[in-house]
């Protein structure tokens, strides 16, 4: 990431610009200075609140909103080209868009399964790779993927989501192997259960966290050389153990 002489970022792109975690991260980054933010989301109207919040706090910051449909995979390279044409180089790109697929019936909804895979996995690989391409031309950049602990070991409650996160997490790790040769890098964020719009109505899980806490951790990590962070941090050790539990025990856990 090329920051200016006093540590401020020029341009941040946010895929999933209405995601609570992404917004919290941008709000935190903005406190240290961002010149321009581009929010990409399916329904631009829903971004009005975010735009107001950001511009009120940071009157000199430019905030733009662009429509982005994560399932329209073929259009993705064009979306990226448009972004660079309109806004120039990208210092930090946050990829946070995802479908939870809570209402996808695993055994009965092939269409729903496919849609979720398209948005969360296939489409996101193309988004990540297209942004990575731009960063490889720039020879700098920080690409941030919101993964999840749900991908560390898939649970019955969200199979499709967890599996897609497992896949995209691995893809991002691999992409980093390539990107570092070009002067840019990837940051993978693995939050645990976060109380957000996405999880409204769901039972709280142990070691749950808030968007603000995630935002602070991610903003700090973006400026570091870290590759993978867990929020909260101790989840790393928790999952190190959980990963090796025998299947019958894993299935019984109330997590």
């Amino acid at each position: 990431m090329v920051v200016n002489g006093v540590g401020e970022i020029s341009t941040v792109w946010v895929f999933g610009g209405t995601s609570d975690l992404a917004i919290a991260t941008v709000a935190e980054l903005a406190r240290d200075g961002i010149a321009r933010v581009v929010l990409l989301c399916r329904d631009v109207k829903r971004a009005d609140g975010v735009v107001t919040m950001l511009t009120e706090r940071h009157p000199r910051m430019e905030v733009h909103v662009r429509p982005f449909d994560g399932s329209d995979i073929d259009r993705v390279p064009d979306v990226i080209a448009r972004l660079t044409a309109d806004f120039g180089d990208v210092d930090v790109a946050i990829v946070a868009h995802a479908l939870l697929g809570a209402d996808v019936d695993l055994l009965g909804d092939a269409t729903g399964l496919r849609e979720l895979g398209d948005v969360n996995y296939t489409g996101t690989t193309v988004v990540l790779a297209s942004v990575a391409r731009q960063m490889s031309l720039q020879k700098y950049g920080r690409l941030v993927l919101f993964s999840s602990v749900a991908g560390e070991r898939v649970r019955r409650a969200n199979v499709a989501y967890g599996a897609s996160k497992a896949g995209i997490d691995a893809f991002a790790q691999g992409l980093d192997h390539v990107l570092v040769e070009h002067g840019a890098s990837v940051l993978i964020v693995r939050p645990g259960f976060v109380r957000t719009k996405m999880t409204t109505g769901m039972a709280d899980a142990p070691m749950s966290t808030t968007p603000e806490k995630v935002g602070r951790s991610v903003a700090r990590a973006i400026r570091s050389r870290k590759r993978i962070i867990w929020v909260p941090a101790q989840l790393r050790w928790v999952f190190m153990v959980l990963r090796h539990l025998p299947t019958w025990l894993w299935r019984r856990l109330p997590v």
């Binding site: 010149a35 044409a85 020879k139």
Partner: protein
Amino acid sequence: MTELRLSGWGRTAWSTSEVVSTSDVAIAREAAVESGPRGATARGLGRAYGAAAQNAGGRVIEFLDRSGALPIDLDVETGVLRASAAVSIEEVLHHSVPRGWFVPVTPGTRLVTLGGAVASDVHGKNHHVDGSIGRHVERIGILLSDGRRTEIGPDLHPDWFWATVGGMGLTGLITDVVLRMRPVETAAMRVETRRIPDIDSMFTVMSEDDDSFPYSVAWIDLMATGRSLGRGVLTVGRHASLAETGKTGADTEYRTRALLGAPRVVPNGLLNRASIRAFNEMWYRRAPRKPEMSTESIPAFFHPLDGVRNWNRMYGRSGFVQYQFIVPPGREDAMTSIVAEFARGGIGSFLAVLKKMGPSNEGMLSFPTEGWTLALDLPAGSDRLAPLLHRIDEMVIDSGGRHYLAKDCHLMPWAVRAGYPRLKEWQKVRDEMDPIGIWTSDLARRLDLVPMNGNGRFEQSKKKDDL
């Protein structure tokens, strides 16, 4: 061609560029024309403090005379000098001073190329009398993005000329400069130094028109507060006459040997508030209370810092920031408030310089204009620095002033739009000179000076809001 990490003199905001180093116009042309999607940036001796001469992921053409072998054509009768833009002011002075000629304008370092000097429209201690370097340039040879080399001047394609003077290298690569020099009898300066107790006295004394000393600048103690706010040392000078020294420029060898070099590795925080405060106190007390005359060499008077090679290393790994701006005449109150803000800001500066500036030239993006300028160094790395500078940015723009792009390393686009009323006009001429969109730099990208990714160089999406 090598891939290098480059930064400005402040050693912040590093990026990676493919560097071609040459003083040969043919090689520079090829490097420019074949520069690829990230375009090209001209670089001289790298004295711009920010990112004006680097190009992340792109090409940098270091147009520099490393061997000192490039010819300097000085007409000793008329004082007209013709040289490659790759030649430095130091080389020019080595040639010209013994022959009785001096550069009409020099910045605080002689280690800048003529190309860089014109691209930044440098100014010096005599700006209030003689203007910036653009006023003394007769002709510029420039390499355009289509590979053509053409000549421009105030009477020859003047809009292109005045877009290039102060244009930060974004109109083309300057290949040659024709400069009107000024006659000097000796290689010495007669200098008057005195202590000034506070900023109001500073404004008063510096406003007194004193024709006998065309060079004038004040060092300001930015750590002083209260009644001593803006106290400092005023230095005024003029070229010594032959009668005064008895030795011509040819007699006195114009010596520019660097006295020492800064160590390669300097621990961070060597220059901290305590050490800076101590230095400032010493420097202020050292100056005489009443004006005292002395004789100094040209290097000592004009380019004191050049005596320490790589002095920018003294700020350690996190580097430093140079901040320079102008407030218009009549806004001394704004300058006083800004000095107070810096004094309060908690980040020490030991090199702060105040100067009275004269009228601007026709350069559309040229910095110098009438008013008062303050230039200071601040160690980078403190997280109080960004908010402090942003507060000052607002104060500068509020007062009707602007910032110097050759020093800038942090501004956001709004401050350039607000400070340079002729920006759009400049952009139009620039795009005319560079329709392909090759010439760029990290600075240009950060400040939105050039079209994003070049006009026509990339496939633009057809309709703006259709996705």
